[in-house]
């Protein structure tokens, strides 16, 4: 009843190509952005910013990066955390070693550094496919983290490899409150998400999807395989790199190489599986889901155990968490391989017909 397209005819191709062709969707996204930019900073508490919203946005960005590489271009990668690490350490080095470096420029350069490394590890993708490529990305994951611990120059000669980032300052304004950091991260992520959406629905995105679906046919219609794949690696690593920089500067404040472990790469992979491979929205949904799940379990399991009079401790919670993650992955892959994004779409389609059944 409310979510109807009647009366909304598209009379030009330009109108047909909008990101949100249905008026109700446009209203919805405006409201969402208003809520995110205005309402939340005024109402949310520090815990929400620090523990939930900021990491959600950062991981959504990393998931976006991985989705571009794995979801759209079909190149399975298990090394996203390593590219985040490159971004984090590069941003740190640029910021600390060059006086008066604007923070946004550090971030961009960090992203570009990560993109460069991404291209390097993406070069094998011309000869190697499928999960052989995943093994190559594992090489990247382990090698990069090892480099960051062994070459003291990269960590500014800190003894344990841990770096503590300086605070952020832009045009004289210090970003030292959770609200300000949240708004900074939100703005960066929103802009990058828009750029990503534009890329995937253009020729660039179509080339990626063609390579994913059938690379022989893509070659025959003239799509340059190596360049397309390398571009996917570059853009994906750029996004992961910026996510890593934000992770260090706006979330944790201090990071170490082992913090960007294989576990984190798996987590990001799970985000796109649950959220929806090949979907921008899916990256956000998946990140929210995977981040909120441990918190939910932390709260509900003790209560449940108390109810059932079962003994447990914090170790049990982390074990059950692993089991739930694993079970969820299998569940989503069996039941809805296109993840939450597809469920969202199905929900919208049902909403179009509501209150009629069909």
């Amino acid at each position: 009843m409310f979510y109807r397209e009647t009366g909304q005819f598209k009379t030009s191709y330009a109108a047909d190509q909008q990101i949100f062709p249905i008026r109700q969707d446009r209203v919805g996204i405006v409201l969402l952005l208003a809520a995110a930019f205005v309402v939340v900073p005024l109402t949310a508490g520090n815990y929400w910013f620090n523990a939930i919203l900021i990491p959600f946005l950062i991981f959504a960005l990393a998931a976006l990066g991985l989705n571009i590489l794995t979801g759209y271009a079909g190149q399975l990668s298990l090394g996203s955390a390593a590219f985040m690490a490159v971004g984090a350490y590069a941003a740190y080095n640029f910021q600390v070693r060059i006086d008066g470096m604007p923070i946004l420029l550090s971030f961009i350069l960090a992203g570009l550094t990560a993109a460069g490394v991404g291209i390097l590890f993406g070069l094998p993708s011309l000869r190697i496919k499928g999960f052989y490529l995943a093994v190559a990305t594992l090489a990247a994951q382990f090698f990069i983290v090892w480099c960051l611990t062994k070459f003291p120059y990269l960590t500014n000669y800190s003894s344990s490899g841990v770096i503590s980032v300086p605070g952020i300052e832009m045009l004289g304004f210090r970003f030292d409150t959770p609200q300000s950091r949240y708004l900074l991260v939100l703005s960066i992520v929103a802009v990058l998400a828009l750029l990503a959406k534009n890329m995937v629905r253009s020729t660039t995105g179509r080339a990626w999807m063609a390579v994913r679906d059938m690379d022989v046919a893509a070659e025959v219609i003239g799509i340059p395989l190596l360049r397309t794949k390398l571009l996917a690696f570059a853009v994906s690593s750029f996004y992961c790199g910026i996510a890593g920089a934000l992770y260090a500067f706006c979330y944790l404040g201090s990071v170490e190489p082992d913090g960007f472990s294989l576990d984190m790469s798996f987590k990001i992979l799970f985000m796109i599986i649950v959220g929806g491979v090949g979907s921008i929205l899916g990256s956000f949904l998946g990140a929210a889901f995977i981040l909120l799940l441990p918190i939910f379990l932390d709260i509900s399991l003790p209560w449940l155990a108390g109810l059932l009079h079962l003994p447990f401790d914090s170790a049990t919670v982390s074990h059950i968490q692993l089991m739930v993650f694993g079970a969820l992955i299998m569940f989503f892959l069996i039941v809805e391989p296109h993840g939450l994004a597809r469920l969202w779409q199905i929900g919208k389609e049902k909403l179009r017909l509501w209150p009629f059944p069909h």
Binding site: Y13, N198, S202, V216, A218, E219, V220, I221, G222
Partner: protein
């Protein structure tokens, strides 16, 4: 045929192709003239698809020479052939199953798109204009093939006959000067075949596209083609206008089988 058949644009000389010990093609020579419809026929396993793959650059022949529009090419890659104006369809549909019909056709035009990814990301001026212009062209192809009603459907969900039509559309979207069709009517019922025939003839008629097609249906081949090449066990056993080939005893023997 309404179009006047022009000069030779593709000349294949002594092409031999082998995979390991298996000889797919042996010493094949024939030519294709501009604006004509050239059929390649032969029993299963004769090497017809391999021939098309050689023209297209997917396979590289061990011996022989290809002259396309006056240029000698032997080891051309698929990208260069696509850029030279050759488009094709495949025996087992090679559509991008995850994308919609519209996206598949737009992908067919990718060689004509000049903007880079940054312009796409920013979606300003040139990128937007380019996308709309190519959308207009693709809509012409959609009109031509009468597939407006399925333009947003993911191709994986379409029935076989429509998928074949979409594949033709993707090839046409590239505005090729030469079209290679590998069994475009395989698996279709009578109505679908008639539609496809009509499309192929219209393409040749309206756009002047040279067509090289592999087909098993003799009726179709004799009806629509200007000239026919017959292959058997990787060798050429017939070449000429349909009537000549139909009466060639070697061709008849290959299809019906004789005592050896």
């Amino acid at each position: 045929m309404a179009r006047e058949i022009g000069e030779v644009i593709l000349d294949l000389k002594n092409i031999s192709l082998a995979f390991g010990g298996v000889k797919a093609l042996t010493d094949i020579s024939f030519d294709v003239r501009e604006h004509e419809i050239r059929a390649i026929i032969g029993p299963n396993g004769a090497g017809k698809s391999s021939m098309l793959n050689v023209i297209n650059g997917v396979y590289h022949p061990q011996q022989g020479e290809i002259v396309f529009r006056g240029e000698h090419r032997r080891d051309m890659n698929t990208h260069a052939m696509a850029a030279a104006g050759i488009a094709r369809t495949f025996q087992n549909i090679a559509l991008f199953k995850g994308m919609s019909v519209l996206d598949n056709l737009m992908a067919g035009r990718n060689l004509k798109m000049k903007c880079n990814f940054i312009q796409h990301a920013l979606w300003w001026g040139p990128a937007r204009r380019e996308e709309l212009e190519h959308r207009r062209k693709v809509e012409e192809v959609i009109d031509f093939l009468e597939i407006e009603h399925i333009r947003k459907t993911p191709v994986g969900r379409l029935p076989y006959g429509l998928q074949k039509r979409v594949e033709l559309g993707r090839a046409l979207a590239a505005e090729p000067s030469m079209l290679l069709l590998d069994e475009p009517m395989a698996g279709m019922n009578v109505e679908e075949k008639q539609d496809m025939c009509r499309f192929i003839l219209d393409v040749n008629d309206q756009f002047g596209t040279t067509i090289v097609l592999i087909e098993h249906d003799m009726g179709v081949v004799m009806d629509i083609s200007d000239r026919v090449v017959v292959l058997d066990y990787g060798k050429k056993i017939g070449d000429g206008v349909p009537d000549e080939v139909k009466n060639n005893p070697e061709v008849i023997a290959a299809y019906l089988g004789t005592q050896h």
